[in-house]
């Protein structure tokens, strides 16, 4: 095993255990505490991926969550496989299996790199320009090929074997980021009774302090101080420390989403541990201490493996104990890269030259580098690089051009300064302001109860970072209503690296045709961005969408400011005027699993079942979803398909008796002195004269005059109504009633109660229904004279209290037996047994639909679609014309609602009785009319009617009631179907059967 890149310093590395893992099938050894990135670098591996578009070899650019290149798939099995993880964040453990992505057949020899040779033909907007023609080729040819070539990792082939949980939490102060600013904020905020949550996306807390070998705080080396601070925080009962926890999104009113990765770093997680927890934290006050991200420099061929951010290299050396290269060229626009160079030199690397973009370089770090014998070239650039699978050399020239010097290297470090991580601040709708000095946006005015501290506020000197963190922590606790137990001070000794910075491209004017990457992950070059401006795109929002810069999974963490710089220079407009793209959650990609939580499988969408459901299941019923309910659809017997079963159920009900579970009907009990008046106002019908013991079919409108719901209503007493609604409409109806009652008519003495689940409803329909029920009922005279159609009686059935409705949705003599839900199944079975001599037949919703359609009874939501008035539906008779007012009444006389040519409900009989129309089919007068053919209506319901031995249909047709007998056309893909307009009541128009 070769880990010649491991630093031997006699401290950190020696005490760490060896860990074995594989990458692309090859075994490697790393050390405990390594990320996959640091472990691979220790083994001299820099090539980890192929780029998105050109399939160029790529290596590690960073050491953190901003990594654009090192995307890997992790997991030994498909059920535990996660694509697109960042190697810079994946912690290694014994047995870890990782692989590179977007390459074929292998990372070293990838066929996709052929794109590289065609790169001249793949400019920005390439897809829009090229694949426009012929249109039909997009779906069959272009899209599949592009999808195979481009893209990131592969989705796992098996369901996720892991478990995810969700947690709600409240705290006084939430601190995001546990670097120097966040730790100081936590120490101060928790020095009171405030409850504090401190979270950090990394495995270890400390942020930049973990990579700092030169600074000291309170007389301790930075890492040592960090350990002490964390020890202190751990002792405080009001503090919760959460590492491996990313604050990924800010939602209104200080609601912050945290994703905690619980087991990803473990070889053998306990079975009771979830893989991740989604924390939904409501914090009184928030301290944002998210730090800053170093910016790459945009120079020719800046994307080769072995070219990385200077501070990332410093982290690999100082924190993980690995040297990313031994011959180093540094290219910088600021002092921090000098600090990195010195740390690498101390670890044994040779610094070939520091190339400084600035006209002159001076100050502590520059002087120190010079004193250590490092060659410094100011006012210079790296104008090109060589090396395919790893960088081999850099070409260096004056910033304006001229002769280039070639310097051999295996590592190029770059730094254009730091970009404050303002993502969460911006998501909280805080206003950003542009800092000319930092060449970056910094937080301005806050909207929510939060404050930014440290580097994410644009402060980079350690002393001011800690000071602002401490102040922010105290402020947050105070604003949350807590007073501190005292104030402590921090003695910081650190040399500042200043705040110099650069954005845009460093290329000379002669290099216009060369490629310098702005966005590594989406393969966007400065040339592409300039092309977009030449083609007329000026706003960064448009440039972004045209070139896709900043639209990859890293959301432009490294690229956005450089893209702005390129555009700003190209069109000669100040950066703030070019605009800024919107920061959106999540900050880093977050698993679907954590958002789904427990909502998967049976728990994804809870199912409601009636008390009679198990009986229907035992009978072999097929079910359908209606609203949130499962309803029995039909009851097939051996060898029957749906068609045969429904025909048999219909026949049995029309000829003898059928039984149907109607329990899902919505039910509302309306009670009070003013109940009748309330009903008058809510429904189109008149209720005042409805006597107790009688039923009425009620129609409810929205205020705009269109049908909202319908149902049979029973008056149980002068001050009590038993209202039924459609299955799917119950909640909506109750909510609308509550709205009017609470907000328009609070003076009415009425109470509304949902009773849907309190009653089981058993519909018994057919000529023998009375005979089946009579022996089971006590205290109710069922005879036609004593209990006519549309009446309700209270009594007992099988010893159970019942509200017995005489009502029919089939056109037959019918009853609906309401019993307390707990008795539903027992009463059902008793009725079923009593019906045996009559061949009682259970039927489902499909038969119910056919039987009611034969009678022309509408179903709200099938015959109506929110634009149908009572008159359109043939329900004009149900509107109480004499009533002064009801919801929707005024709208019924609006001009559009009284037009003669409105769509009206009619029956349709096909010329060929065997043809069953398709529901939703459009109806036309003249099918030979050139396209577009004017459409005059559509089929709302269509079935095979066993009763009539032919197909039947209901339809909404313009001026339909004046078209009786007319022949209309229904054009379908395989020919035009002819049908005749008839009355919507197709069976027993006089209603003799239901009055029997």
């Amino acid at each position: 095993m070769t880990d010649t890149y491991r630093v031997r310093r006699g401290d950190v590395a020696e005490s760490r255990n060896a860990v074995h893992f594989t990458f692309d099938g090859k075994s490697y050894q790393g050390l405990a505490g390594d990320t996959l990135a640091s472990a691979l670098i220790a083994n001299g591996v820099h090539l980890v991926g192929r780029s998105f578009k050109y399939h160029r070899p790529r290596g590690f650019v960073s050491a953190g969550s901003e990594e654009p290149n090192a995307l890997v798939g992790v997991g030994a099995t498909q059920s535990r496989y996660t694509p697109n993880l960042l190697a810079t964040q994946v912690e290694i453990y014994d047995g870890l299996v990782a692989e590179s992505q977007n390459r074929w057949p292998s990372l070293e020899t990838d066929a996709g790199f052929l794109n590289e040779y065609f790169s001249a033909f793949l400019p920005a907007g390439f897809y829009y320009k090229t694949f426009m023609w012929p249109r039909t080729a997009w779906k069959k040819l272009y899209e599949p090929v592009i999808r195979r070539m481009a893209g990131l990792g592969k989705a796992p082939a098996e369901p996720d074997a892991d478990r995810y949980t969700q947690v709600f939490a409240h705290c006084d102060v939430l601190i995001v980021g546990a670097g120097p600013a966040g730790l100081a904020a936590a120490l101060e905020a928790s020095n009171s009774d405030a409850t504090v949550i401190l979270c950090d996306e990394q495995a270890e807390m400390g942020g930049s302090l973990l990579s700092d070998r030169s600074a000291s705080i309170d007389g301790m080396q930075a890492a040592e101080w960090t350990r002490a601070a964390l020890d202190e925080l751990r002792k405080r009962p009001n503090v919760k420390l959460m590492s491996r926890t990313t604050a990924f999104g800010w939602y209104p009113h200080n609601f912050v989403g945290l994703n905690e990765r619980v087991t990803d770093h473990l070889s053998n997680p306990a079975t009771n541990q979830p893989r991740e927890r989604l924390w939904q934290v409501r914090a009184k006050e928030v301290v944002l201490a998210a730090g800053a991200i170093e910016r790459p420099l945009v120079f020719t061929d800046n994307d080769r493996p072995g070219i990385m951010l200077a501070d990332a290299a410093r982290t690999y050396v100082n924190r993980y104990g690995v040297v990313p290269g031994k011959q180093v060229v540094v290219f910088t626009a600021c002092d921090s890269a000098y600090r990195a160079a010195l740390d690498l030199k101390a670890a044994g690397a040779r610094i070939q030259v520091i190339v400084d973009l600035r006209k002159s370089a001076s100050g502590h770090w520059v002087d120190k580098a010079r004193a250590e014998g490092i060659k410094v070239r100011s006012d210079s650039i790296v104008r090109g690089t060589s090396g395919w699978l790893r960088v081999k050399s850099a070409q260096i020239s004056n910033a304006q051009g001229g002769d280039a010097e070639t310097v051999a290297c295996d590592l190029i470090l770059m730094s254009g300064g730091f970009t404050p991580s303002v993502h969460l601040f911006s998501q909280s709708r805080g206003k950003l302001s542009y800092s000319e000095e930092l060449r970056a946006y910094v937080p301005g005015e806050s909207v929510e109860r939060e404050r930014s501290v440290g580097a994410c506020k644009g402060l980079f000197a350690l002393e001011s970072v800690i000071e602002s963190g401490a102040k922010g922590g105290r402020d947050a606790a105070a604003k949350a209503g807590f007073s501190p137990r005292g104030e402590r001070s921090y003695t910081v000794s650190a040399q500042s690296v200043g705040a110099d910075a650069f954005i845009g491209s460093v290329m000379t004017d002669h290099q216009a045709e060369k490629r310098a990457w702005v966005d590594f992950q989406n393969d966007v070059t400065a040339k592409d961005v300039r092309l977009a401006t030449r083609e007329g795109f000026r706003s960064i929002e448009h440039v972004k969408r045209y070139t896709t810069t900043g639209m990859a999974t890293d959301q432009g963490k490294l690229s956005n400011m450089n893209a702005l710089g390129v555009v700003s220079k190209q069109i000669d407009v100040a950066v703030p005027k070019v605009g800024l793209t919107t920061f959106r959650p999540p900050y880093t990609p977050t698993t679907f699993g954590s958002f789904a939580g427990q909502s998967r499988g049976d728990l994804f969408d809870p199912v409601r079942k009636t008390s009679i459901h198990p009986w229907a299941e035992a009978q072999g019923a097929q079910f359908e979803d209606v609203g949130v309910w499962k309803r029995a659809w039909y009851f097939p017997q051996v060898g029957e398909d749906m068609h045969a079963a429904v025909a048999r159920e219909c026949k049995a009900t029309r000829e003898s008796v059928g039984i149907f579970d109607a329990s899902t009907l919505g039910k509302i009990e309306i009670v009070g002195k003013d109940a009748a008046e309330f009903m008058n106002r809510m429904y189109t019908n008149a209720w005042t004269k409805l006597e107790p013991g009688r039923l009425r079919y009620g129609v409810m409108l929205r205020e705009d005059g269109f049908i909202m719901d319908d149902g049979v209503v029973g008056r149980m007493a002068t001050d009590r109504f038993h209202v039924t609604t459609t299955t799917g409409g119950a909640a909506r109806v109750l909510s609308m009633m509550e709205d009017y009652l609470q907000t328009e008519w609070p003076d009415l003495e009425v109470w509304l109660t949902s009773t849907t689940e309190q009653w089981s409803v058993i519909a018994l329909q057919g000529p023998n229904a009375r005979k089946v029920l009579e022996p089971l009922v006590e205290g109710i005279d069922l005879s036609a004279d004593a209990m006519p159609h549309m009446s309700v009686r209270e009594g007992r059935i099988c010893g159970v209290p019942t509200r017995l409705f005489r009502v029919s949705f089939t056109g037959e003599l019918g009853f609906e037996v309401n019993v307390p839900a707990g008795y539903g199944r027992a009463v059902w079975e008793a009725i079923f047994a009593a019906g045996k001599p009559y061949g009682i037949t259970p039927y489902g919703t499909e038969t119910m639909h056919v039987l009611r359609a034969e009678k022309g009874y509408i179903i709200v939501g099938q015959e109506t679609d929110g634009t149908v008035t009572p008159d359109d539906a043939g329900l004009g008779w149900a509107v109480g014309k004499a009533k002064r007012d009801f919801v929707g009444k005024r709208s019924l006389s609006r001009p559009a609602l009284v037009r003669e040519d409105r769509k009206q409900l009619v029956g349709l009989l096909t010329t060929d009785p065997k043809v069953v129309l398709e529901e939703g089919a459009q109806i036309v007068l003249d099918p030979t009319h050139p396209i577009p053919v004017p459409m005059i209506g559509h089929v709302t319901s269509s079935y095979w009617s066993a009763t009539l031995n032919r197909s039947i249909a209901l339809a909404l047709v313009r001026g339909g009631r004046s078209r009786m007998g007319e022949e209309l056309s229904i054009p379908m893909p395989d020919g035009v179907i002819k049908a005749k307009v008839v009355d919507s009541i197709l069976f027993d128009p006089k209603g003799e059967r239901l009055n029997a």
Binding site: P252, H253, N254, F255, S735, D739, R884, D885
Partner: protein, 97 residues
């Protein structure tokens, strides 16, 4: 997710509530006496406010009561919630709080 202070129950997460649109639009006492235009204005015309918006909410998965809230549509900050029948504070619709 908004944190909404139900005047009857106290602060609760938005998931417990349903928005009911613009507040303080009384249903006309005698709709039949209105012209078509007046009725259409009541039915359909609503403010599209940038700034302070007085709106109805219902604590649907809680006490079930309707109440009003004054919310800044640009920031989602809810300045005040109050019971049905009460008037909003002096700020007018659209004002910056």
């Amino acid at each position: 997710m908004l944190l909404i202070n139900c005047p009857y129950c106290g602060p609760r997460p938005e998931a417990e509530f349903v928005n009911g649109g613009q507040a303080h639009i009384a249903r006309p006492a005698d709709p039949m006496s209105l012209t078509d235009d007046e009725w259409a204005a009541y039915l359909y015309m609503r403010d599209n406010t940038k700034g302070l918006h007085h709106e109805r909410w219902r604590h649907a998965n809680g006490c079930g009561r309707f109440f009003n809230a004054s919310r800044d549509t640009t920031t989602d900050i809810i300045k005040r919630t109050y019971r049905m029948g009460e008037r909003p504070e002096a700020e007018h619709q659209g004002a910056k709080p």
